[in-house]
């Protein structure tokens, strides 16, 4: 039974990675950049929820909505202020370095506002624990909610991208920005929309992450952010199902690594997996083979 229990924990953690990875992968697919500040938006979302509940006394639901809205606005603002002016820069490195800068900025502002000591996160999600097989397997409410949220988000995003006009615009921009403009697609607002969706999802990820692992510091988002990036590359960066599968596999590998090998090297195992995947299949599991036409 412990195997199933670990598997369930892995899927739950992986679901959080998957939600974060969706933000990475969509922004990469459409804006062709790696937004390394994405992980820190998670931390901002979690702090907003914590502050809204403990300081402002808002209800959990209102706090979550507030966090999603604020993170969405934050994502759009980061893109407009920090990344958009560099879109026509001659080197992609400029925007990459800026993203790292934004990441540190968010961490340090949080440090200034909330302090360095770890806060314990409040219970936001109250779902009873599921007890199966006469108590041999228990599934916490938060685990059920996390996995359900991940599935809903995945289905919703897939429908959005394939069935709606803004979704088609996103796909078109991701394939050929100039051709999309010739069709009348506003590239700037499409990229803003992508950042909005990614950052809104980051707030949800922040909620789920801190509900499962209830300590919160200004650096809380950094490590999950990096791992979600690994998940996105693992699944094939730019691919929505890839981010999903990559995230869940990574979560399972991490928990199994902790359980069966060593909890100290679990993170190393995660990154080793990335290296192996990149060696064997450089485009990731679901990555497209980009053929440059001459």
């Amino acid at each position: 039974m412990s195997f199933i229990s670990y598997l369930k924990d892995g899927i739950s953690l992986g679901s959080i990675y998957a939600i974060i990875a969706l933000g990475y992968t969509m922004v990469y697919g459409i804006a062709k950049m790696l937004n390394f500040a994405h992980g820190d938006v998670i931390m901002v979302g979690a702090f907003v929820i914590l502050a809204a509940i403990t300081k402002a006394g808002l209800s959990p639901l209102l706090s979550i909505i507030l966090a999603v809205v604020l993170c969405t606005v934050l994502g759009i603002t980061i893109e407009m202020v920090a990344y958009r002016p560099l879109r026509k820069a001659s080197s992609n490195l400029a925007v990459l370095i800026t993203a790292i800068g934004v990441s540190y900025l968010l961490q340090n502002v949080a440090l200034l506002v909330f302090g360095a000591d770890a806060k314990s996160f409040v219970t936001v999600i109250n779902v009873p624990t599921l007890v199966l097989f006469d108590g041999q397997l228990t599934i916490k409410g938060i685990t059920i909610v996390t996995i359900a949220a991940c599935i809903i988000i995945m289905c919703g995003l897939t429908l959005f991208v394939n069935k709606t006009k803004p979704g088609h615009a996103m796909k078109a921009v991701s394939e050929d920005r100039d051709a999309a403009q010739l069709m009348g697609v506003n590239v700037n607002s499409t990229i803003s929309l992508t950042f909005a969706i990614g950052s809104g999802l980051a707030a949800i990820a922040g909620l789920l992450l801190c509900s499962a692992y209830p300590t919160l510091t200004p650096y809380t988002g950094a490590m999950p952010g990096i791992k979600a990036f690994v998940a996105a590359v693992f699944g094939g960066i730019g691919s929505i199902p890839g981010a999903m599968i990559g995230g869940i596999l990574l979560g399972v590998i991490e928990i199994f690594g902790k359980a069966y090998i060593s909890s100290q090297v679990a993170d190393a195992i995660v990154f080793a997996v990335l290296i192996i995947v990149l060696l064997v299949k450089p485009t990731g599991l679901f990555g497209k083979n980009v053929q440059e036409k001459v």
Binding site: K171, A172, E175, L182, M183, G184
Partner: protein, 236 residues
């Protein structure tokens, strides 16, 4: 008044000047060809007209409106479509989805359906392959798709960049027949071509470009019989 007028256009790539003060016009109903060798600046001109590049100097006036101040994505809805060099179809989309992207700025569903039917009538092969992924089409089919996609915006003027590039002689003829029929149905055409002979044979007027400047202009028929043009571009 000309439908499209380009005045003293100058375009730079960094410090390199690609277009060195070009003026020309296209009247309603005409087929105007821009011919010239590789690197003469033909594609740069089209990309500047539809806003993918910004000029350093000059004016682009389309039906009385200054296009240089209008963002690229708003130009298609003014009635100007651009079939880019190398087709640039959305390779992961189906043929049908590509055509719908062409009508992205249009709202009326019935009118879009009517345009779709008209495109399928003009290009029966696109209808046969409507559910095929565009990236798997042949070069000629992709060119037809790029043209059909442009027609889906119901343009009054269509800019075509090297439509014959990389196609077999039979397909080149087919593509030029289609350009003529698009023109006959009332759409103005600005055609950029390296295949000068073909372009001059269907155009009303033409401009000859050399390294960013217009060196000759006139009626297409006259240019076809001009000795210097014959030598430099027609291989005679």
């Amino acid at each position: 008044m000309a439908m499209l007028e380009i005045k003293d256009l100058e375009v730079f790539y960094g410090v390199i000047q690609a277009i060195k003060g070009i003026s020309f016009k296209v009247n309603e109903g005409e087929v105007v060809a821009l011919i010239g060798a590789n690197g003469a600046g033909k594609t740069t001109i089209l990309q500047t007209i539809t806003g993918l590049l910004s000029p350093k100097k000059g004016n682009i006036i389309f039906e009385g409106q200054e296009l240089t101040k209008i963002p690229a994505h708003k130009i298609v809805s003014l009635g100007m479509a651009h079939v880019p060099e190398g087709r640039r179809v959305f390779a992961q989309f189906t043929v049908y989805q590509n055509l719908l992207m062409g009508a992205y700025t249009r709202k009326d569903k019935n009118e879009i359906e009517a345009s779709l039917a008209a495109v399928y009538k003009r290009f029966p092969r696109l209808e046969e392959r409507k559910n095929q992924i565009a990236g798997t089409l042949s070069g000629g089919e992709q060119q037809m798709l790029a043209m059909g996609r442009a027609l889906m915006s119901k343009p009054r003027i269509i800019l075509m960049d090297e439509p014959s590039m990389g196609l077999s002689p039979i397909l080149v003829n087919e593509i030029f027949d289609i350009i003529q029929s698009v023109s006959a149905s009332g759409t103005t055409v600005l055609l950029v071509e390296q295949n000068a002979k073909k372009a001059l044979s269907i155009a009303d007027r033409a401009y000859v470009l050399e390294t960013g400047k217009i060196v000759q202009e006139g009626k297409a028929e006259a240019l076809l019989n001009d000795d210097s043009i014959k030598k430099a571009y027609l291989g005679e």
